[in-house]
Amino acid sequence: MSRTDRGSSPEDPVFVTPGETPAAAAADLRIEGLRKSFGAEEVLRGIDLAVAPHEVVCLIGASGSGKSTLLRCVNLLERIDAGAIWLGGQLITGPGVDENLVRRHIGIVFQSFNLFPHMTVERNITLAPMKVLGLSRAEAAERATELLDRFGLAEKRSDYPDRLSGGQQQRVAIIRALAMRPRLMLLDEVTSALDPELVADVLDVIRELANGGMTMLIATHEMGFARDIASRVCFLADGQIVEQAPPGQLFTEPSDERTRRFLRRIVDAGRM
């Protein structure tokens, strides 16, 4: 029996030891037959989706179509009922998986920011690198400084979250996730709770991440942004992926009637 016989591809190991995560590492995500119910209501009814390294996939669809639930399932915040999810070739759902280990590699940003209100901006960012990756305070602070400088929030370092605007809070939330150097980022309608004039700043940050090669799965209502940034757009309805295509194709010549109806409503509402 050879020692390398472990069923995972050695050239793309997701579960490297703390501190060794390469900055630009990206991982592919594969979802097969994913089902999730809340009580009697089946929210996801068999999702198949693959996201290649460095790919940016946008999920669009009406509220309640299952976008958020799908992201929460990928981050193991919800237990799935059926199907399987692989990250970097390794199965992350099922018995015996250390979910804390998996989550180190998957950053998620929520619609409602969810910053820790009792901690300064810097502490929000350094908490997980220190407690999860075992970085020293100085190392973690250096990571935070680097990211805050990069996204123009350096002077907010010592502020508490409720002193920041929504846009600033959301950018801090993105930085907090990035400080773990994740190999996949999940963004759950990150601009939906923002005033319109604050949306652009947050979208700029995401655009920069995309340009930097970050693998991302993004649930969004911003159709213009999705068309701009996505390598692929998936339209969800009734817990299923109805249609997926490059944005140029999906937005201009959708093949499914439900997609056409959804996009027409968006256009009528002046959102595109």
Binding site: R104, F116, A128
Partner: protein, 293 residues
């Protein structure tokens, strides 16, 4: 042009006006306080039995004697006895904080394996809150010694008293904890877990610190109540402040000793209340000001 010149003048006049109304408010509030206190004092002094009550409850000589005590005459210092109350409630508070947290966490737990523990927790809280404290004190204070268990049945009355207080108050405090824990929105724990923090780490660094800020006022409320209820342990024979006051009144037939005990209990509880107000105000100011590290 005219308006621009008029503006600073106007605002200056307004601030003068506001200033004088501030001063007027202060004078008014002092005056009304004095009037009310004088009225209450007048009623007390002019009541038909005032002389008798003042002699029985507020006699300075008796108050001083009760405060310093005289064991050879059959009564003990109320001031010294208060030290026992302090030791009892400090010990009880520490034990309550720990036991109540355990009970709260158990009752908050999910998962079928812990169901028996959850049941025990629920029954305990129902019983401890439902039975009057005085009965719990009697049950433990007289029941445990009667059991004649080596090492456990030979403690002092104060120990059984503290045990009874811990038993009763942990139930209340565990409910305070539970309210605090559930008032921290679930999304906070989700955010912490999503960063890879373990369940315990997210409890320790994210949920508990926020819950504690919320529970400090109700927790303090329970502790003030606990400080007073240490007086009930005197029923088991411990010479705490209230019992010492009782011994004085039994010996000298003057109730001024109880007034001394009341004043001492007041002196204990008021600083604690002010200190907590200070903590809350400081926390709020720091968060709103975005203070430097």
């Amino acid at each position: 042009m005219a308006e621009a010149q008029g503006l600073p003048d106007l605002s200056a006049r307004r601030s003068r006006l506001l200033g004088s109304s501030d001063r007027r408010g202060l004078v008014l509030s002092i005056a009304s306080t004095v009037v009310v206190l004088a009225a209450v004092l007048a009623v007390f002094l002019l009541a038909p039995g005032s002389r008798q009550v003042r002699h029985t409850f507020f006699n300075p000589t008796d108050m001083w004697r009760a405060f310093v005590g005289k064991p050879s005459a059959g009564y003990y210092s109320v001031g010294e006895a208060l030290w026992l109350n302090i030791r009892m409630f400090v010990t009880a508070e520490i034990l309550i904080l720990i036991l109540a947290l355990v009970v709260a966490v158990v009752r908050q737990s999910t998962g079928p394996v812990l169901l028996p523990l959850r049941l025990v927790g629920t029954v305990y809280v129902d019983v401890a809150r439902g039975v009057p404290l005085i009965l719990i004190i009697f049950a433990i204070g007289f029941g445990v010694p009667a059991l004649q268990i080596r090492g456990i049945s030979s403690q002092s009355a104060a120990v059984y008293g503290v045990a009874a207080l811990v038993f009763s108050y942990s139930a209340y405090v565990s409910e305070v904890y539970r309210a605090g824990l559930s008032s921290v929105h679930r999304s906070q724990a989700a955010a912490a877990r999503s960063l890879g923090l373990s369940g315990w780490a997210s409890m320790r660094h994210v949920v508990l610190p926020q819950a504690i800020r919320i529970i400090i006022p109700p927790l303090l409320n329970d502790f003030i109540s606990l400080q007073k209820d240490t007086a009930l342990v005197g029923l088991l024979g411990s010479i705490e402040a209230n019992k010492a006051a009782e011994l004085y009144s039994d010996t000298v037939f003057n109730y001024s000793s109880y007034t001394v005990a009341a004043i001492l209990f007041l002196l204990l509880t008021i600083p604690l209340a002010r200190f907590t107000d200070h903590l809350i105000a400081r926390d709020q100011a720091r968060r709103l000001a975005g203070a430097r590290l």
